[in-house]
């Protein structure tokens, strides 16, 4: 087993664990820089392949980290990279959740909970629209998203049906 590569994996991903905000997109540029330019675990094309793959598979987009670890140091690298990116920030949030339960029901906590709802609303709506602004397909993407939103809010149709229809519409219109 290559201990040096494993150590490098830890050194890259533990700091990034605390720098991740949002869905994990914020650290992709830095993962690219370190894994291609700094440590030379792979070349640019290999990185792009892993990135594309991380978009196809279900689950958190941050699983890109698992794939990069795999490329860097095999199965052990994949496991170490995943632990390094997920555990440090998780401990922080765990501590927060603990504090929360302890002070549950106090006016401060209730104010935080009520006050965060409109902020969350603005954030989620802005994130959705930002994804659509950058999406391929332009007006088709907005149209598919609008139809899917309405269907999910007004009917009991399965989200999987909407995802499948989205793929079909794109293949027919743009494929």
């Amino acid at each position: 087993m290559n201990l040096k590569s494993l150590l490098e994996v830890v050194l890259v991903f533990v700091p990034l664990s605390f720098l991740t905000v949002g869905g994990g997109q914020s650290i992709v540029a830095d993962i690219h820089r370190q894994s291609v330019d700094v440590y030379g675990w792979m070349n640019n094309a290999q990185f792009m392949d892993l990135y594309a793959l991380s978009r196809i598979i279900p689950g958190p987009g941050a699983l890109l980290v698992t794939l990069v670890g795999w490329q860097a140091a095999g199965l052990a690298g994949a496991l170490v990279a995943s632990a390094a990116i997920f555990i440090p920030s998780s401990l922080l949030v765990y501590g927060l959740a603990h504090l929360w339960t302890r002070f549950k029901g106090t006016r401060c906590i209730r104010a935080v909970e009520a006050g965060l709802v409109p902020v969350a609303a603005g954030m989620v709506l802005a994130a959705s629209c930002t994804v659509l602004r950058a999406a391929e397909g332009g007006a088709w993407a907005w149209g598919v998203a609008a139809v899917s939103t309405l269907a999910l809010m007004l009917t009991r149709l399965s989200p999987f049906l909407m995802l499948g229809l989205g793929a079909v519409v794109f293949l027919v219109a743009l494929g």
């Binding site: 958190p60 603005g122 794109f170």
Partner: protein
């Protein structure tokens, strides 16, 4: 202004076991094609299983996004802890990550060529567009709740504008709007309940 007690649990079902939490999060990890995991979570935990109220879910979502870390992982820890303490948090996070991770490793070994195919690429863009519907649905429900007071509606609009139109960094926006909104909510609670 209608009070929205966040402690209100919609169903009176008993809290799920750690194993049930693991399975529920594994399902989300393995089926959330196209991203938008928080939308899948809200659908599963608030609408389908009624384990959490909408307000509990949404305030947790804002905290999970404001804290460092991948926000869906933060959310799994938050929800797991809320429902089943430390064991629940562990079960939730492992459920979300481990099965999806094993699948990712299996796929990288077998199908890395698929990622380069043009029609896979276009189909995936379509899936991603439809998946935005899940997030938008979450956002619209939160917006309906926020629109109950003028101040909250203004905060929501300002947050949206700062991120979408001005493209300011998320951390700055949340760092400004969250304390402001929480402060206003505190004053509102104090006015209603007396000090």
């Amino acid at each position: 202004m209608i009070p929205t007690p966040s402690s209100l649990r919609p169903g009176d079902a008993p809290p799920p076991s750690a194993f049930q939490l693991f399975l529920a999060f594994a399902k989300i990890g393995l089926t959330s094609f196209g991203g938008g995991l928080s939308g899948w979570m809200m659908r599963e935990f608030v609408q389908r299983r009624e384990w959490l109220s909408e307000a509990e879910f949404l305030s947790g979502l804002a905290l999970a996004q404001a804290f460092p870390g991948v926000n869906v992982i933060n959310m799994s820890i938050w929800v797991g802890f809320r429902l089943r303490g430390g064991v629940g948090a562990l079960a939730g996070a492992l459920g979300l990550v481990v099965p999806a991770m094993l699948l990712a490793l299996a796929v990288v070994g077998a199908f890395s060529a698929a990622a380069k195919s043009d029609s896979v690429h276009v189909a995936l863009a379509g899936v991603a567009a439809a998946a935005v519907g899940l997030s938008l649905q979450t956002g619209l429900r939160a917006a309906r709740r926020a629109a109950q007071s003028m101040a909250a509606a203004a905060i929501m609009a300002a947050t949206f504008g700062a991120i979408f139109f001005l493209r300011l960094p998320l951390l700055w926006v949340v760092g400004t709007m969250a304390p402001l909104s929480v402060g206003l909510a505190y004053l509102r609670l104090r006015a209603r309940e007396g000090s």
